[in-house]
């Protein structure tokens, strides 16, 4: 990869936002892929996290709120040689886009999904997100969150996601390393990134995560699904960070009979092939 990945786009994040270290980690992880800029597509939805792709000089598809995954899937299907990375927020991927999260893990396309999980809707000024802790007070739930939190890693493990990791935004080196592993993994790879929101989340702060987070011990076997599931649900006492679960399974692109070379944009439409399909409708008496 030649040159810097920086762009000239004005940054719209709050000073101290957890998105800054995530941006640094994304750039480092992309540099480690060995890919050229034109071979990478960053896909996002809407929200402060979803603005990240504008600050990285690669191909960008900044779509609708919640809909990054379907677009990313199709980009990968259309041209599997592209490295497709989704980077968006918790409300985007787990809330508005929850159905796509579930079904794309089932499909297992070769895309890496980085979720900036700050447990709050920041851009709309502080409403609870699917991962907000019960009792947390948001601008639309002043009496505190009643619903139980969405456990993204547990859901991913339950669905057989082949790469399930949790990162801590403030640990840029470790986050970049997990991201690079996720991109290298062949299949749907989830990195849920614990991201402090300095403006709206006064509970899950840098200090709080500093106390709660610990690295998954080296003796953890990521192939142990039961153990990974237990770790994924650990939250109240301590929060494990690292690769929780890993499993190789065939990717969607490998399993889909039509996806592969050449990419869809390079496939011709020969008249004779169309005529062949038309001829199948002609009634010919034996």
């Amino acid at each position: 990869m030649g040159g810097t990945l920086d762009t000239a786009v004005e940054n719209a994040w709050c000073p101290g936002c957890g998105n800054f270290p995530i941006l640094t980690a994304v750039k480092r992880a992309l540099e480690r892929t060995g890919k050229e800029q034109h071979e990478i597509v960053l896909v996002s939805g809407i929200g402060q996290a979803a603005k990240l792709p504008h600050h990285v000089d690669v191909n960008v598809f900044n779509g609708l709120h919640g809909r990054a995954l379907p677009a990313a899937l199709a980009i990968k299907m259309a041209n599997p040689s592209l490295t497709v990375v989704v980077t968006s927020g918790d409300g985007d991927i787990y809330g508005e886009g929850g159905n796509h999260f579930v079904h794309n893990i089932r499909r297992n396309p070769d895309i890496a999904v980085f979720v900036h999980d700050n447990q709050v809707y920041g851009l709309t000024k502080g409403q609870p997100s699917p991962t907000s802790d019960p009792g947390w007070t948001g601008s639309l739930q002043r009496g505190g969150v009643i619903s139980g939190p969405f456990p993204p890693l547990a859901v991913a493990i339950a669905l057989g996601c082949g790469f399930v990791a949790r990162a801590l935004a403030s640990d840029v080196d470790h986050t970049a390393d997990l991201m690079a592993q996720a991109i290298a993994h062949k299949g749907f790879a989830l990195v849920d990134i614990l991201q402090p929101c300095v403006t709206f989340n006064k509970k899950n702060t840098y200090q709080w995560y500093g106390r709660m987070a610990y690295k998954v011990p080296p003796d953890h076997d990521p192939a142990d699904r039961q153990r990974a599931f237990a770790l994924s649900l650990s939250w109240e006492e301590k929060i494990p960070v690292g690769v929780l679960y890993r499993e190789e399974r065939p990717s969607f692109e490998d399993a889909h009979p039509g996806v592969g070379e050449p990419p869809l944009h390079a496939r011709p439409t020969p008249e004779e092939a169309v005529r062949t399909q038309i001829r199948k409708r002609i009634l010919a008496l034996p």
Partner: protein, 573 residues
């Protein structure tokens, strides 16, 4: 026109109504004739009261007819419902004892003969044998057709059932509806939805996604069958929202892409439709209409989503809305939609409905055009770059259409955003840039309008009245016009195959030539009449509306138009 025989097969889902109807259709083509088949079915997997009507003529048939000449009721319990639709002197056949007790019904032991042939489920084939005898089509023809579908033991059982039916009918059923033998010509048998999918594939569609929804599921089926041999990849989406967002993603990566759905699914796609408008990604949406609101009547027909298709999507953006009026047009306009969506970088909606989608006809395969697909993606040296070597996805141009390069093109990056963006695709909150981009997208509508497909007219250029329809009503209105002409009423049929950009000039010209003009619409509000008023400032005389979930029918439409013209004249006097 000498031959016009209408054959209706009725029964519950699972009784082989569709199989018998399809076989009779092929039988008449094999006998050198032409057909138009329509389906009326209920929303269930088994049972209910379904019908398959095959209208046979010695010229290509482009409309169905309500009154049956031959009624084959596989379930005698349906006779009270379908008998009023039988013409006087027509043949009705069903099982005893119910059939024997009814006037004008021939009691045929369908079940008994089916059991003799080897299985009680072969009642439909016994019925086909009776129809073959009534129409005087040779059993040899049916034997050969059955060999195309069945093998071994099943072939023999089916052949036996047909033979037993025909033998039973000898001397018991009139041959008043005999089809004189005509030379066999090779004809392609196509349903509306099948033709639409085939046209899209011929138009270079390489990506399709969808969530099953009646009456559009057969478009998805067509795409998944005809597409893969030409390199199309199909994926069933988890919901319609995903489907259109997927198609837009694929389009961004350079694939011609489409989705197919009905009103409810289209409602879910609306935000993504707006995304296609903002990102300027070419995409085609086939919208197979059915009666609403909400779930409505899932398996019936309607044209209630015209205004919805025209206005769907927040914000302002150009779009193309086409409305095929026949199986051939479904193919042609799907091809056209693929070309236009890419040429103008806009979403294109193909507005069809259950009636047209499920209509099956025979067409001349030589008349199906396969023009070359014209891709407009820029690559390599064609990619325009700034002095700094950057590619601008939304470069400002006179036409509003910017050269479209793809992610993966060496040396550049492609940035597409749902936010307002600058020429480079990156989000912006600059009001001056906003104005330039609004104007850029707006200019594309002018380019689209310049290529508007004009309405198609049939009949005299100076008739007493104009009948204006869009989409699937084309064949019915054209035949109603012929009926009226025979009765001395001179009207002109006007078919709008493009409803947006609206062909204002052409429609205005038509309205100025005719004293009276009615729109003919499968909706209550007269949505086309409202559109005509909005776009031309002219008010049509009225709307012939039908919103019972069924398609128009030529003779009843002609009757209603005649009454309207008389009423109009008496008012004027």
């Amino acid at each position: 026109m000498n031959i016009d025989v209408n054959i209706r097969i009725t029964g519950g889902a699972g009784q082989g109504v569709h199989t018998a109807g399809g076989l009779i259709s092929r039988m008449v083509v094999a006998a050198g004739h032409h057909f138009h088949a329509t389906q009326d079915y209920m929303s269930r997997i088994r049972g209910g009261r379904n019908s398959y009507t095959v209208r046979v003529m010695d010229i290509p048939v482009r409309a169905g007819r309500a009154e049956a000449d031959i009624l084959l009721a596989l379930d005698p319990g349906h006779l009270p419902h379908f008998l009023p639709g039988l013409r006087p002197g027509g043949i009705a056949v069903s099982d005893p004892p119910a059939a024997g007790a009814m006037d004008g019904v021939t009691a045929a032991p369908l079940k008994e003969l089916a059991v003799s042939a080897g299985s009680p489920i072969l009642g439909n084939m016994v019925g086909v044998g009776i129809v073959a005898r009534a129409t005087d089509v040779s059993l040899d023809t049916l034997d050969r057709l059955l060999a195309l579908e069945f093998r071994d033991e099943f072939l023999e059982k089916n052949r036996k059932a047909v033979r037993l039916g025909a033998e039973w009918a000898s001397g018991r059923v009139t041959d008043a509806f005999r089809l004189p033998p005509a030379p066999f010509r090779p004809r392609a048998i196509l349903a509306g939805n099948e033709a639409l999918a085939l046209g899209a594939v011929a138009g270079g569609c390489k990506f399709a996604a969808g969530y099953p929804m009646t009456p559009a599921s057969s478009i998805l089926l067509g795409l998944s069958v005809d597409g893969p041999p030409l390199g199309l990849v199909f994926e069933q989406a988890e919901d319609e929202i995903a489907a259109l967002n997927m198609a837009i993603g694929a389009s961004y990566a350079g694939a011609r892409a489409m989705v197919a759905t009905s009103g409810g699914g289209f409602a879910l796609m609306v935000e993504a439709l707006s995304l296609a408008g903002m990102m300027e990604t070419p995409v085609v949406i086939a919208l197979g209409m059915r009666p609403g609101p909400a779930t409505g009547m899932p398996t019936r027909t309607g044209q209630e989503d015209l205004e919805f298709a025209l206005s769907a999507g927040h914000g302002e953006f150009p779009r193309l809305v086409l409305a095929p009026g026949s199986v051939e047009e479904a193919y042609e306009l799907a091809f056209h939609a693929m070309e236009m969506a890419e040429a103008h970088q806009v979403p294109c909606i193909l507005l069809t409905d259950q009636y047209l989608g499920d209509t099956v006809v025979d067409v001349d395969p030589e008349e199906i055009a396969v023009p070359p697909v014209r891709r407009r993606i820029v690559r390599g040296a064609e990619v325009p770059r700034t002095a700094e070597g950057r590619y601008l996805r939304y470069a400002l141009t006179e036409s509003g259409v910017s050269p479209m390069a793809l992610p993966g093109e060496p040396g550049i990056t492609v940035v597409a955003d749902s936010d307002e963006h600058g020429e480079d695709g990156h989000l912006t909150e600059d009001h001056d840039v906003r104005i330039r981009m609004v104007e850029k997208r707006g200019r594309k509508e002018e380019g689209l309008a310049a290529e508007t497909l004009p309405p198609l007219l049939s009949g005299p250029p100076d008739g007493d009245a104009a009948l204006i329809g869009f989409g699937s009503t084309k064949g019915v209105i054209a035949e109603a016009r012929e009926i009226l002409a025979r009765e001395g009423v001179s009207v002109t049929a006007v078919h709008l195959r493009q409803v947006w950009p609206f062909p204002s000039g052409a429609v205005e010209g038509i309205l100025s030539r005719y004293g009276t003009a009615w729109t003919v619409e499968n909706n209550r509000r007269g949505q086309l009449a409202r559109l005509i008023r909005a776009e031309t400032g002219r008010q049509v005389t009225g709307t012939v509306s039908r919103c019972d979930g069924l398609p128009f029918e030529p003779s009843s439409l002609a009757r209603e138009v005649k009454e309207r013209i008389w009423a109009e004249r008496s008012i004027r006097r």
